[in-house]
C-alpha cells in the first residue's frame, strides 16, 4: 500500500513539505522510545509515536522509515519539521490516540 493512500484513508494531516508520498509501506512500528525504534523498526515502516522533538527525524533517517505519524493531534516542533523537510521524511499528524490509529492502520495493511 502506498503512503498517499494511507494518508487519504486515515485522514492524516501531512505537516512537512515532502515529495515522496508515493512510496510503498512495508509495515508499521509503534513506540515512544527512540532506542526501541532504533533496535526494532524495519526499513520502509511507518512509525507511530507521540514524540514531537527533532530527534525522531534522525531515527527516521537512520532506519529508513517511510514516514512518522504523530498521535493525539500533537504539534511537531518547528525544528522537527525543518529537519524532516531536509531529510525528506513525511511527518503526519492524526487526532486519534495511538491505540485507534494503529488498529486502523494494522487492518489497512492486511494485519487482521
Amino acid at each position: 500500500m502506498k503512503l498517499h493512500q494511507i494518508v487519504k484513508e486515515l485522514g492524516l494531516e501531512v505537516k512537512s513539505k515532502v515529495s515522496n508520498l508515493d512510496k510503498e509501506v512495508s509495515g508499521g512500528y509503534a513506540s515512544d522510545l527512540l532506542s526501541d525504534v532504533i533496535a526494532n523498526a524495519k526499513k520502509d515502516n511507518i512509525w507511530i509515536t507521540l514524540q514531537i522533538h527533532q530527534n525522531i527525524v534522525g531515527v527516521g533517517t537512520l532506519k529508513e522509515l517511510i514516514g512518522i505519524i504523530i498521535v493525539n493531534g500533537r504539534e511537531p516542533e518547528k525544528e522537527t519539521l525543518k529537519k524532516a523537510e531536509e531529510e525528506n521524511i513525511p511527518i503526519m499528524v492524526t487526532e486519534l490516540p495511538a491505540f485507534e490509529i494503529i488498529g486502523k492502520l494494522y487492518r489497512m495493511l492486511g494485519g487482521c
Partner: protein
C-alpha cells in the same frame, strides 16, 4: 566565556573529552567539573558529575558496557575526541545518542556509590526528561537536584505541570545551558555560594548547609 567560574562537561554517555577540557580550564583559570549525561533505558537523561577522573571513568565504563549500537556519522554527526591543543586524536564509534540498558534507578545508584553528584536533566523539557518519560519522580530516587533548562530561565516555553511549579517536587533546583554548541555556553547558569568548585561543596550548597547556597 560569559564570566563563568565553573563549567561542567557532560557528553552523552561518554567522558572522553573531559581531561583535555580540564587542562584548558587550568590554563584559563576556569574550574572544569567532569561528568557524563547518562541515558537510562527509560530514556531519562541524568547528569553525573565527579571530582576525580578515576570515578568518572569507572562510571563511563559501566555505561559503555550497557550501551549498544554504533554511530552513523551521516545521520548523527561525528563524535570526535580532541586534545587540549585542539587536535583530533580519535573518534568514538558508539551510539552515544542512544540509551543504555541501565534503569534510571541503577544509574542513580551507580553515581551515588561512586561519590558523584546526580542531577535529573532538564526536567521541564518535553523529551528525555524524568517528568516527560515517567510522569513523576519515583519515591526514594537519590537525586541531588533537578535541572531546569534555559527555556525555564527565559520563560520561552511553558510546559504545564512540568515547568509550572518545579519546587513542588521537593528537590533542590539548578539551571544550566545544556550547550550543544559553543555559542550556547552560559545562556543559563546557576550561582553557587561555596568555598570551592567541588562535588562536596556543591552538595552542601544544594542542601543549604554551613552557609552554602544556590541561587537560580
Amino acid at each position: 566565556m560569559n564570566n563563568l567560574d565553573i563549567v561542567g562537561i557532560c557528553d552523552h554517555n561518554s567522558a572522553e573529552n573531559v581531561m583535555a577540557t580540564q587542562k584548558i580550564g587550568q590554563r584559563e583559570k576556569i574550574a572544569v567539573i567532569g561528568g557524563i549525561e547518562a541515558a537510562s533505558q527509560e530514556e531519562v537523561h541524568v547528569l553525573a558529575l565527579f571530582d576525580n577522573v578515576k570515578e568518572l571513568f569507572e562510571c563511563q565504563e559501566i555505561i559503555y558496557e550497557k550501551l549498544s549500537g554504533f554511530n552513523d556519522e551521516k545521520v548523527f554527526g561525528k563524535q570526535l575526541i580532541i586534545n587540549e591543543n585542539n587536535e583530533v586524536t580519535g573518534s568514538n564509534d558508539r551510539l552515544l545518542i542512544g540509551a543504555t540498558s541501565l534503569s534510571l534507578q541503577k544509574i542513580v545508584q551507580t553515581i551515588c556509590s561512586l561519590g558523584g553528584l546526580t542531577i535529573a536533566s532538564h526536567i521541564d523539557r518535553g523529551s528525555f526528561s524524568i517528568i516527560a518519560q515517567l510522569g513523576f519522580i519515583p519515591e526514594g530516587l537519590l537525586l541531588d537536584a533537578l535541572e531546569l533548562s534555559l527555556n525555564y530561565k527565559h520563560r520561552t516555553t511553558c510546559f504545564a505541570g512540568r515547568g509550572a511549579n518545579p519546587e513542588l517536587y521537593g528537590f533542590p533546583l539548578v539551571t544550566f545551558s545544556d550547550a550543544h554548541f559553543l555559542k550556547d555556553i552560559g545562556k543559563s547558569f546557576t550561582i553557587f555560594l561555596m568555598e570551592e568548585a567541588s562535588i562536596g561543596e556543591i552538595k552542601k550548597a544544594l542542601s543549604g548547609e554551613d552557609g552554602r547556597k544556590v541561587i537560580i
